[in-house]
């Protein structure tokens, strides 16, 4: 089994806010991330697929194809967007790095599974070089 990872970057804004809570509680839990005017990051998305190299091409997946899938399914929705306002999955869900990793998985999985070759293995989303969230699907 080979694990193959492709990276891409996107720049987006967001804020953290739980509508069920008071303004004070949001401030207390989320601190500066609760600023309603939002703030932004340069995110790095890492997509890892797992499979056996094709006996003819030697590829686990065609990297150009994977790049296109990442651009179509994730970057088109997130890059230079406001995640709370522009991405439907964050209308009722806080766009934390954890939830972005899960949402990116859900966006990518149908195309990757549908191609019938390698499986989606891991999504990692870096919010800064020091902070990342990872999702490996349902165990």
């Amino acid at each position: 089994m080979i694990f193959l990872t492709r990276r891409a970057t996107f720049s987006a804004s967001h804020f953290y806010w739980n509508e069920a809570w008071s303004a004070e509680k949001n401030q207390q839990v989320f601190g500066r991330c609760a600023n309603r005017n939002g703030h932004g990051h340069n995110y790095t998305l890492e997509v890892t697929v797992a499979g056996e190299p094709d006996p003819v091409t030697g590829f686990v997946v065609d990297l150009k194809w994977l790049k296109d899938v990442m651009e179509r399914e994730v970057l088109a929705a997130y890059d230079h967007k406001h995640l709370n306002l522009d991405a439907p999955e964050f209308k009722n869900q806080i766009p934390t790095t954890e939830n972005i990793a899960i949402a990116a998985w859900q966006r990518l999985q149908p195309s990757i599974t549908g191609a019938g070759g390698a499986k989606l293995s891991r999504i990692r989303v870096y919010e800064t070089p020091e902070i990342f969230a990872e999702y490996r699907g349902e165990a």
Binding site: N18, W21, T96, E130, R136
Partner: protein, 135 residues
Amino acid sequence: MKAYFGRRYMISASHRLHAEQLTAEQNRAAYGKCNNPHGHGHNYTVEVLVGGNVAAETGMVVDLVALDEAVRGRIIERFDHANLNLDPMFADRVPTTENFCRAIFGLLKDALPAAKLETIRVEETENNFFECSAV
């Protein structure tokens, strides 16, 4: 829904790789320039990966502030700008980065709020890293 959260921290520390059970010659053979009698230092990067359910209320696996406090209190204050060989933990253990990684895992595993410690990764240089995971 289970997800993982990772955060990187920096530690600058010195160490010397030298095993008391080995002769001077064997130590030089085993550890090369890392056996230099006066030691040497690194900027270590410690990557802490925790796993847990994403809380519906917060969208988070772990409270970042609480994680920072645990790592600062248990790891950074203890090892940053220190000589690893002089820490009691390395009194009878060579402070290789493998052992440093296990030491950090042991010190943090019961200290985290809510989430479970999954993996500690210690990068000794840009080209060397070591990982230790829960079994």
